[in-house]
Each structure stands twice: as structure tokens, then as C-alpha cells.
Point group: C2
Chain length 189, copies 2
Amino acid sequence: MTQGRPMRADARRNYERLLEVAAEAFAEHGEKASLDDIAKRAGVGSGTLYRHFPNRQALLEAAYLDRIEALGARADELAKELPPGEALGEWLYELAVGTLEVRGMKALLGSAVTESSAAALTVCGNVVKGAVARLVEAAQTAGALRADVEPIEVLRLAHGVASAAELAGTGEREIRRYLGLLHEGLRSG
Amino acid sequence: MTQGRPMRADARRNYERLLEVAAEAFAEHGEKASLDDIAKRAGVGSGTLYRHFPNRQALLEAAYLDRIEALGARADELAKELPPGEALGEWLYELAVGTLEVRGMKALLGSAVTESSAAALTVCGNVVKGAVARLVEAAQTAGALRADVEPIEVLRLAHGVASAAELAGTGEREIRRYLGLLHEGLRSG
DNA sequence: GCGTTAAGCGGGGACTGTCTCCGTTTAGTG
DNA sequence: CACTAAACGGAGACAGTCCCCGCTTAACGC
């Protein structure tokens, strides 16, 4: 892509070490883990961290990119296994569970879903938006979902519901319940 | 209540000046406006601010207490004017709009709705929870709302939806729409 | 192997924000 | 007017973000 020269070996090592540590740290302390601390734990100076990842958002995204991509792939898998309406429901459920399980992914998803122009460019945003778009459209043509909602709206609502469940401090039970209620409202009527 | 002696005149002046300035600052910069800056703008030292309000949450709550109480009163007003189902819907709408209009109230409401024991004690939490409980129960006995949801769940979901609308960067239009969808799912079925 | 050089490193430091501590000031009272 | 407890305020400890720039080292041609 934008690879003029390949990375120097030490640079690549540091880059990867940082990602590893960052994923741990975000999981442990939530989205606002200390960046300098991550640098320290990875055995590099903070300068190195900030060169590779100009800001928190960039690091967050890079750290969870694989997870996001798995989610994108999962969408297509579900689309094959289940009827359209259920596929969407199940995918949203897995998305929401992931959001809560991996503290810090919520912030990431949140920013992916914003109107803001800056966030529209992120890889993660595109993957998730693409996945939900496919599922929503399939469900709509199958008549399992009202036709007047946009995919991004579904995503936003699911994210809102996940936040609601998080406030409840509960687990997956609550999410399923809340998503169910939402789904009820989204059926074609 | 817990008033042993009335406040000294200068103390009361500072207290009120702080509230004024805080409301402005939170409205302008969101929930994370600088507290030291608020103190400065109010013409007091930061020590004074922290003595009156031991943490951000306390200041936030005090700054918007009147608004919260108005919301509580509004619930009863609506209960008289409208049939139970609509009263609830309209109140949630006004709540959500307030949440977005007054940047910083979202954080306040969010914490009011958490499982956490610490937050359960806040005045604001109690007012809002009380209001929604009355409206929800009325709607349920009128058969306009499914019986298996808790008031606090309705509140959480509404808050989630408001967050979703906020991400969209939109105004009241979107909120009404999203709340409508939610409401659909909450009808008795 | 060995020298050259630019890519990469890293930590010191500027800056911003939170919150506490304690010496100083002042409102309220007799 | 003097006294005292209440209240003030700002210096400073601490924590976080991010930049800057002199030093180090991997990579490549010889």
C-alpha cells in the first residue's frame, strides 16, 4: 500500500510489541490506559510510541484491528448459516458482547459510528459499516426488517443498547434481552 | 436537612458563583471542562471549589439540579395531560433532548443509571428514577407497555438511544425517530 | 568485515489538568 | 473592638499527554 521501504527490523519489533502490550493494557484499564505506561511496559520510550501511533485512537484501532476483521468475516459466515433476520440479530449480539468484553473496543466502535469526517476514514469503521450494510440489506429484502432504516442507524442503536447494558453492569444476558427489544421495534410493521 | 449552621455569607456567595460558572463551562466544553479553570473564572482558588464540591460529579450534579428537578415535575404534568403510554414516550423524549442540549448532563444521567452503589445515592439519580418509575408503572397497568421491563431498564435504553443519536451528530429529529423504534419494541406483545 | 548514513530510538521537559495542604484572611458574635 | 472558627487561595505534588532533538544502530554498498 503506502509501503515505500519496508520497516527496519527493530522498528517492526517495537511496533508489534507495542500492539501486544496495548491490547493487554486497554483490556485491563479500559480505553484510557496510560500511553506512557504502555510504552514503558513495552520497553520503549514514549517517543517511539507516538511516532508509530500519533494518538490514542490510532493505537486503539491498530490493537484491535484483527478482532474487528474477524467480526467482518463473521458477518458473512452468519449470512450463510442463518436466515437474514436472524443473521443480523446474532451478529449484532456478538458485536455488542465483544464491545463489552474487550473494554476499550467500545470507544473504538463509537468513533467508527460518528458523523465526524475524521472518523469516517478509519479502517475499522469501514469494515464494520460494510458488514452491517450487507446484513441489513439482506434482512430488508427478505422482509424481516423495516425498509426505512439505514444500516448505520442500526449500528448506532446497537451500540447505544450495548452501552445501556454496560451501565447495568451486567453480562450477556442483559444484552440479549435489550437487543431483543430493539429488534422487536425494527421488524417490518 | 443536614444544615447545622447556615453558611457564612462569603461562602454562600462563592458557592453560587461557582454553580453559575460551572453550568456555563459544562455547557460550553462538555462534561470535562477544566475544574481549575472554573474556579479561576469564578474568582476563587481551586481549594474553594474542591471544598464545596469534592469531585467533578458533585459539581455536575449541583449545577444541573434545578434542571433535573424540573424534569421530575414535568413527569407528573405529562401524566395528567396525556394517556399513560404517550406520557412516558413524551417524557423520555424531553429527557433525551435535554441530555443532548445540555452537554454534560449526559454524564450525569449516565451515572445515575449505573448499577454502582456509589451512584445510587445521588439526588439526581433518585429524582429521575422516581419519575420514570411512576410513568412506567402507569403505562404498564394501562396495558400500553409490556409488563416484563423494569423502569430502570427503560431509562437505560432511552439513555442508550440518546447516545446513539448524539453519535449521529444530529438534532431532535433523530432522537424522536430512534425513540419511536424503541417504543415499538416496548409495546406489550 | 567495515564505513556511512538515514531511520529509528528514548527520555527529558513543556504543558495541562486534578486535588491537597496549610498559612492567612475575614465574617460573625458578644 | 477583639476573638475565633469558618472559609479562603494558591503553591505544589502528582499524573498524563505529547514533542523535540542528540544519540544509536540496522542496512546496504564496497
